[in-house]
């Protein structure tokens, strides 16, 4: 079903007249933008305006109520859920996703190092602090090898050093021809090519 919207092999992210309804509420409509390889987009707007829904929609988890989009075949979503087995050491928990994504042990080690988690590889995930959990989510995203990274508040719970480390990895991904669409209220240390601000629809209607 959703394959009709995302044809897979596209090298760009193209969004046309996209609309999304959640719980009988229209979140956004008529949304259009495009990202080329190596470009990054920043998504802003107040809470509950549909930033996370847009990211989930582009990840293929929701179906749009209107419009369509074409996205690269490989996408990675970094949202507020860890998706790692809590009782396993980090390295083992990541190994599951590495296998699914066709990545090697070395890729996993490098992803952990880039997320600043190299020293925690043998520690079970359930002992991680808030910031370490966030970095584990990022490590899973780095490991995916996906072309488009959909990041939902990637800097949440990170200290300033970790944010600048995050910036370095994001920039490497862009330099390698990757794409990033990030929703963040914490400034991220990379240059964004486009900026999208979502506004609550009810308020827009009121002004008309």
């Amino acid at each position: 079903m959703k394959e009709e919207q995302s044809t897979g092999s596209d090298e760009r992210l193209v969004v046309e007249a996209l609309g999304c309804v959640r719980g009988e509420r229209l979140l956004f409509r008529g949304l259009g933008f495009a990202l080329d390889a190596g470009q990054a987009g920043l998504l802003t707007g107040p809470n509950g305006v549909g930033k996370s829904s847009l990211l989930r929609l582009l990840a293929g988890l929701l179906t749009p109520s209107a419009g369509n989009y074409r996205a690269p075949g490989t996408r990675a979503l970094c949202d507020d859920r860890l998706a790692l087995d809590e009782h396993l050491p980090l390295a083992q928990a990541l190994r599951f996703w590495a296998k699914l994504d066709g990545r090697s042990e070395a890729d996993a080690a490098s992803a952990m190092a880039r997320a600043g988690l190299g020293h925690l590889a043998e520690v079970p995930v359930r002992y991680f602090s808030t910031g370490q959990r966030q970095r584990a989510r990022l490590a899973r995203t780095y490991l995916s090898g996906a072309q488009l990274w959909l990041l939902d508040e990637p800097a949440n719970g990170l200290d300033s050093d970790s944010v600048s480390q995050l910036g370095t990895v994001l920039q490497e991904h862009l330099d390698g021809g990757g794409m990033i669409l990030a929703a963040s209220h914490i400034p991220l240390p990379i240059a964004f090519d486009i900026s999208l601000r979502l506004e609550p629809l009810e308020e827009l209607e009121a002004y008309r």
């Binding site: 989930r56 990840a59 293929g60 988890l61 929701l62 179906t63 075949g73 996408r75 990675a76 979503l77 949202d79 859920r81 860890l82 998706a83 790692l84 087995d85 809590e86 009782h87 599951f96 996703w97 296998k99 699914l100 994504d101 899973r140």
Partner: protein, 216 residues
């Protein structure tokens, strides 16, 4: 794609055995079998007549025990979403879950049934029929468990609701499964096989639809 499914199944199976959750139905099963002779008395004929049926009912009830661990944790911690992002369908994930649950649930249950049948005094052909009927039914029981777990995922009181859902769906299995004990060599086992295949075939689609509905 097959490699991916194998990876998912292997993770689930390893997790079930490592967490010890796979032995819970076994312990329950053996407890039920141990308690039954105390309740009806040590009359050998009575035990022989009713023991097989009780072991069948215990197998159905044991199916209910792992319901909350089958689907809910993966939905909660985002593993299911991440699999969808990687292009797997809800149906594939449900099918993988059914296979992995069967691998973690079926063999231990058959072992427990073998041990428990000793307590009922079942032996020879009756024991063979009981084990054969349970072996045929375990894939269906695993399928039912995955289906019900997917339908009730995220609901309060999912366990009680799961019990209610299991009863009507499991009755055909019980009729032919326990029926094969009283009329050995009849067609009950064949019917049991047919129902088992049917349940196994619809599970990925029913559970997959439930999983897709949860996400929207």
């Amino acid at each position: 794609m097959i490699g991916n499914l194998a990876t998912i199944i292997w993770r689930d199976v390893r997790q079930s055995y490592a967490s010890g959750g796979t032995w819970l139905p076994v312990i329950f099963y053996l407890s039920a079998a141990t308690l039954f002779p105390f309740a009806v008395g040590p009359d050998r004929d009575l035990l022989l007549q009713t023991g097989g049926g009780i072991l069948w009912i215990a197998a159905l009830l044991a199916t209910l025990l792992p319901l909350d661990r089958l689907i809910q944790p993966d939905l909660e911690n985002g593993v299911h979403d991440q699999l969808i992002v990687r292009g797997l369908s809800d149906e594939m994930i449900a099918a993988a879950r059914m296979v992995s649950h069967w691998l973690a649930f079926g063999p231990p249950l058959l072992l427990a049934a073998f041990l428990a049948s000793g307590l009922m005094g079942l032996e020879g052909a009756a024991l063979g029929t009981l084990l054969a009927s349970l072996a045929i039914a375990t894939p269906a029981l695993a399928g039912l468990a995955v289906m019900i777990a997917a339908l009730t995922a995220g609901l309060k009181g999912a366990g009680a609701l799961g019990g209610l859902l299991l009863v009507p769906l499991a009755i055909p299995l019980l009729i032919f499964g326990a029926g094969s004990l009283s009329a050995p060599g009849g067609s009950a086992l064949l019917f049991l096989g047919a129902i088992s295949l049917l349940l196994v075939a619809i599970t990925p689609f029913a559970a997959g639809a439930a999983l897709a509905a949860v996400r929207e």
